[in-house]
């Protein structure tokens, strides 16, 4: 048994559950001779990867699903050895260049070069190009993006690049203009409910409509999350009950509690407790921007409009710094401290005014 998310993932363009017009468009794209570079973007859990894989299958047939995992070694100009894991089939290669941090440029240049220069020997092969699938391009350094742009032009004959990103804001315009952009919006709650019901039917369990609705709304239109939640519910209680509790993820609860602590008391001692918890979150691999978002959502709940504005302003400032600086804890801490200070002053004024 594998996770439902993987088990019921559609594998071809005709089996996709939603965005059907788009699927039609993608089919048209495959049927034409000139396949452009693609930039597929959309929020997490919207089905970007599913669409890309279906598209590849449409291009090359089921052979793309025979995957191998390989480790490739590179040497940077500064003579540092780096290793990256790739997932490839005979027709395509998937890699996440941001795994190697600031050395992503080398990976992009070398990897695409290797792919582009090895000819496709399969004469029966329908295409004269291979596909390189780069995930999380929005996390690439600017340097790497410029290199990518050059590489795209250079090897256009033997290699197409599919880029996958959460948002296009960080992708440089030069790349955007060279790709055909495919926007993948998140599925609507109704679509999610239908999919959940279908999956449950296939699994032979009944999903109460109320529960389906609650899962859909709690998932924040993230299909992956919805499916994971649904499966957890099923594991926790079979048959599923309409009033069943949808379990929250451990780190979310932890983060919420942390935010509550911030509102509770504003003192150096509390600050130090909160810092310990922030560290705890970081150590468990929760990305700092996610912590930031979660904190902000919780904290503003106990503010009035004017304060909300100040808090959001501070959040925007420090969240930005998170991406500029190295030590995320400094910026998280600065935000929490600023909030505490704002909140404390506010409470004191309230008390003074009464």
């Amino acid at each position: 048994m594998s996770l439902w998310v993987d088990k019921y993932r559609p594998t071809s363009l005709s089996k996709l559950d939603y965005h059907l017009t788009q699927a039609e468009h993608l089919k048209n794209l495959v049927q034409q001779g000139d396949f452009p570079h693609l930039l597929v973007y959309g929020p997490s859990g919207a089905g970007k990867k599913t669409r890309i894989m279906s598209l590849l299958r449409e291009l090359y047939g089921p052979g793309v699903e025979r995957l191998r995992m390989e480790r490739v070694n590179f040497t940077t100009p500064s003579n540092k050895k780096i290793e990256i894991t790739t997932l490839n089939s005979n027709y395509h290669l998937e890699v996440n260049p941001s795994d190697v941090g600031i050395y992503d440029r080398v990976v992009i240049q070398e990897l695409i070069k290797t792919v582009a220069e090895t000819h496709q020997l399969d004469t029966a092969g329908q295409r004269e190009f291979k596909v390189v699938l780069l995930s999380e391009v929005d996390r690439l350094t600017k340097d790497a993006q410029h290199a990518l742009r050059r590489t795209m032009e250079k090897y256009v004959a033997s290699c197409r690049i599919i880029l996958c990103a959460n948002s296009t804001s960080r992708v440089i315009p030069a790349i955007r203009s060279r790709c055909l952009s495919i926007r993948v919006p998140a599925p609507s709650p109704e679509q999610i409910i239908v999919i959940l019901q279908n999956v449950c039917k296939k699994e032979g369990v009944t999903l109460p409509p109320e529960l389906a609705e609650r899962i859909a709304s709690k998932s924040g239109r993230n299909l992956r999350r919805a499916l994971l939640m649904c499966e957890t519910c099923k594991v926790q209680q079979t048959p599923m009950q309409p009033s069943q509790e949808i379990p929250a993820l451990d780190w979310q609860t932890f983060l919420e509690d942390t935010a509550k602590m911030v509102v509770q008391e504003q003192s150096p001692k509390q600050m130090s407790e909160v810092r310990g918890r922030l560290y705890e979150l970081l150590i468990h691999g929760i990305p700092p921007p996610t912590i930031f978002q979660g904190l902000l959502e919780e904290l503003v709940k106990s503010c009035d409009m004017q304060m909300k504005r100040r808090v959001v302003e501070a959040a925007a400032k420090y969240e930005h710094r998170l991406h500029q600086g190295n030590k995320s804890i400094f910026h998280l801490e600065a935000f929490v401290a600023t909030f505490m200070s704002i909140y404390k002053t506010f409470m004191e004024e309230m008390l003074g005014g009464m």
């Binding site: 594998s2 997490s44 191998r68 957890t232 609860t253 691999g285």
Partner: protein, 514 residues
Amino acid sequence: MKRHYSDTQVRRFGVCRSNICDPKKRDDLVINRNRIKDLGDWIDHATTAASVSLLLLCGPPGCGKTTCVRVLAEERNIELLDWTTPIDSYECSDNNEYLKSVSVAHKFKSFLLGVGRYAPVVSNNSMSFMTKRLILVKDFPTCFLSSPDQFTEIIDMYVGHGHTPVIFICTESVKKKSKDIAYELFSEEFKQRHRILQMSFLPVPVTSVVKALKRVVQILRVSVSDELMRDIATESRGDVRKAINDLNILSVNSSQPKKSTSSVNKKLRNQDKTKNSSSKDSDRETTGLFHSVGRVLYAKRDVPNDVVKKGNNTFIDPRGNLVHKPLEIAKEFCHYANQFVSLAHSNYLDIFSSIECIAKAAEYLSDSDIIMSEWREKELLSTVGFSVAVCGFMESNIDPIRRWKPLRGSQWNDDLRIAVENRISVENLLSDYCVPKNDIILEVVPTMKLMWCSRNRDSKLIKWCPKGFFPHRSEELLTAVRTIKSDILISPPCLLEKSRIDSDSEIHISDDSD
């Protein structure tokens, strides 16, 4: 402290220890009680268990790893067998690298297998009643560094034959870049295979070092002021051995150990070979890193009244001028900017008295981080960024708390480093799921845990997740994830299922042996 028992490979610790300063009782130890208890439990378990147990004990230098083992062993009347790399074998071998390494490795092997396998037949001293024994390997033969396989082989063999528990002691070097022995020799896989438990000691906090020093002072019957002891303790950075040595040297060399702080600092500094002769002014004399961090955080100011008298051509801060000039401190420590800032960062919350001051200081810290992160003008900007941090701390601290608190190093930095490694290994473990890497940690792993917990309510996992979280120590986390993966998600996801039908394709999943 160096051993010179080159001819005897087995050193027996007994009651006849020469060094009177070493702790004798459990209460004398300055290590975290839980750690001591853990170690004691392990020893109890290991010496009674049927199969052979191995333990890897890690920690920074001088945090009392060996001492703790020794005290606990003595408490339990366990004989301690210590491996010492024979020095003479280097000298007598005919300069042949290969032969030499073989011979040392061979000796190590015969030591382990010989000593660990058989109970002592002849008891040559009064300790014949001791039947329980422990092997202590502290001094790894250097030849294993170049060929870890050899080491693995010997241990494999030992696990098969021997029955005496072995404790490997591994000192973590302070520099992060130089990998320490444990990482080289004890790979994750290796630890897994033999269920080698890893225990880590942290640097000893300043107060505990002071406690240890006080005990030594009593034994040596010298009088040393509290202030001096505290200075020595902060200077030692959690290294008890160094602290005691420093104390010894001071009490032996100087006729008056009660000398003023600054001279002690000077002495300590000289030992550390820090260049400090250039500055003449005694106030500006190089003081230790901890000391200066303290100066910055406490931001002592002179009384405003005095300043008024001094004249009116200088800018007068109504709060009083700073006693120690921030820019001078910044200049002095610009080469240690990172350590300085992170040390100050881990301590300022304890010293600042109001949240407003903290908010201000935190903002300065955040400023300084983005300045220091700019790589294009690294040299210049790191100095600027550092100055911003130092000035920011001193400027924003309006009313520091008066009572003195010991400074602590931060254990988080190392933990964060481990966390990154963990994340990568977990991601690799689960990389056959068709999910972006971020979401593996954020969604898949927590969900797996939820499912697993609700299936096996009285499971090991509950123990693994003390705070409702996965443990973050690498080996525990990996075991947990691996167990879950194999328990509830027996078969891998769809992509791989498909390929199983096509028998010609092959999938390599990293390390999925469990």
